[in-house]
């Protein structure tokens, strides 16, 4: 039995099958997360507001995502008259696909990455930029001027925040000297002060760098307090106004999948990935603990802070985050140069 099992594992480990297994695992992981993060979000929102949250469907409302999914799938997919039908249908897929592809290079545990690219970090950000374009496509192809305007807001917002995000990532690449995510995690082995977040001897402003990354991540995923794209209480559904049923559902799932990807990336870059701070428990578990703590903090932030105004959002990026991230970039470059010269 055991021999058969190990044979199966080696068989699935060989090239074409490994790819299929990894694909299924990632799609399953994303789908499960997207469904149950909605539940977590609603439950946590309830807790923050001193109410129980969903309770009716299943024990503690655990079947709520299933009920929501069935409801969305039962709805008709309407393409508005005069809309660009192909682009309209393609937009939700374009939002979802980059996230799935991005997760392929995330190391969930030691040796547990679907594809260990040496330019993994670069690939995630290259694909991440498709996300903005897909929202634009969704707004544009709807043939609805309000959706179009919302899409324009999303683009101006995401462009503004992609700059500090990338500057921070360049700082991290300089500090670690690699874009291979597994390598970045391996460098952070040992006690928790080896995590990049606390590596103040490379860059004394490392916690600030993390904060900038976190703010940009919130913004890139269009989460409150930066959820201008889909400000539920002000706009109908922003760029998704014309979408109904599972078309809207996929946009929604992509939002949560993006949060998972962003938090995974923050874990890998700053919190030591699957490295355990004490040596207890397997690496995968530590990765998930760190990532879900960040995911929870995203929910926590959403139910704490009110939505900002649009010009404040742009001011924060252009007047504060970009200068600050440029400063950390130059500072860490200087620090690396000085440290090299000394040693």
């Amino acid at each position: 039995m055991r021999a058969l099992f190990s044979k199966l594992i080696t068989f699935l480990g060989t090239e074409p099958y490994r790819l299929v297994v990894a694909l299924l695992a990632i799609v399953g992981f994303v789908a499960l997360n997207a469904a149950y993060l909605v539940w977590v979000e609603r439950k946590a929102a309830g807790r923050f507001q001193r109410r129980p949250g969903p309770t009716e469907v299943g024990p503690a409302g655990l079947l709520q995502p299933v009920a929501d999914g069935l409801k969305l799938m039962a709805k008709q997919l309407i393409v508005p008259a005069g809309a660009d039908a192909t682009l309209f249908r393609a937009a939700p897929l374009l939002v979802m696909a980059p996230v799935l592809m991005g997760l392929a290079v995330i190391p969930f545990g030691p040796g547990l990455a679907a594809r260990n690219l040496n330019v993994g970090l670069l690939m995630i950000f290259a694909l991440g930029s498709i996300n903005v374009m897909a929202l634009m496509v969704g707004g544009w192809s709807s043939r609805n001027k309000y959706a179009m305007m919302s899409a324009a807001r999303v683009v101006s917002q995401n462009v503004a925040y992609e700059i500090p995000m990338l500057l921070v990532v360049i700082t991290m690449i300089m500090a670690t000297g690699t874009t291979d995510l597994s390598q970045i995690v391996l460098q952070q082995a040992g006690p928790f002060w080896h995590w990049n977040l606390f590596r103040v001897w490379v860059n004394p402003l490392m916690p600030v760098t993390f904060l900038i990354f976190y703010i940009c991540m919130l913004e890139e995923t269009n989460r409150a307090p930066f959820d201008m794209a889909e400000a539920e209480s002000e706009l109908v559904a922003g760029a998704y106004t014309e979408y109904g049923g599972m078309g809207f559902g996929v946009f929604f799932m992509a939002e949560y999948a993006n949060i998972v990807l962003g938090c995974s990336l923050a874990t890998v870059l700053f919190l030591g990935g699957w490295q355990s701070p004490f040596g207890l428990l397997p690496g995968l578990l530590w990765f998930l603990i760190k990532m879900y703590f960040l995911v929870f903090s995203v929910v926590w932030v959403r139910w704490t802070f009110p939505r900002t105004q649009f010009y404040r959002l742009l001011n924060l990026s252009w007047k504060l985050l970009i200068p600050a991230s440029l400063f950390t970039l130059i500072l860490s470059a200087a620090m690396i140069k000085i440290l090299r010269a000394l040693s």
Partner: protein
């Protein structure tokens, strides 16, 4: 320097905000799970009017003086009755209340010398047709009499915040209710 102070102050206020919300996160819910649980309705709650029974006879106290009918500014009450053999007073046979017009002003309750009508504490007033609000209070009274007997045996819905009020208490309202009760126990969850 000013900018740095502003950033520091802003970050600090954000962290304080997060600290406050996480404090709420670990406290118990203050809401009542309504269809499963219900708050006690205050004694002075003004539902639509209902007939008060005479405990000795098991019949309504009303003897069809029609003062309420005349007192009603919205003209939504019409009472009819008969004089039964051997009775000193008339007995009510139909007490029609058109609740679609009633403004709950309470003139009918004030004017009633016998105390034969009072505000009910029925707050689940929703219907699909207008006819559901053209009520006959005599029929309602009889249904209530029958229900009171079966309710003594069957299960009652869970009522929070204090003991269930007896009908005698309901007739003379006291300044208490869920609000007063909540204030007494510090506004914490029931």
């Amino acid at each position: 320097m000013n900018l740095l102070r502003e950033i520091y102050g802003g970050l600090k206020s954000l962290l304080i905000g997060l600290w406050i919300t996480i404090g709420q996160f670990f406290k118990s819910a203050v809401t009542v799970r309504y269809p499963h649980q219900a708050l006690k309705i205050p004694l002075r709650y003004r539902g639509h009017i209902e007939l008060v029974g005479d405990p000795a006879r098991g019949k309504p106290l009303c003897f069809v003086c029609k003062l309420c009918e005349r007192a009603c500014p919205s003209d939504c009450i019409s009472v009819e009755g008969v004089k039964l053999e051997g009775d000193r007073r008339k007995s009510v046979t139909t007490y029609k209340l058109d609740f679609t017009k009633c403004s709950l002003c309470g003139s009918c309750v004030e004017v009633c010398r016998e105390g034969a009508i009072r505000f009910s504490r029925d707050y689940n007033l929703a219907g699909l047709t207008k006819e559901e609000f053209l009520m006959d209070l005599v029929q309602r009274f009889q249904a209530q009499q029958a229900g009171a007997k079966s309710e003594a045996r069957g299960a009652k819905p869970e009522v929070l915040a204090g003991p269930k009020a007896k009908p005698a208490e309901a007739a003379e309202p006291k300044p208490e209710g869920p609000l007063a009760g909540a204030a007494a126990n510090g506004g914490s969850a029931p």
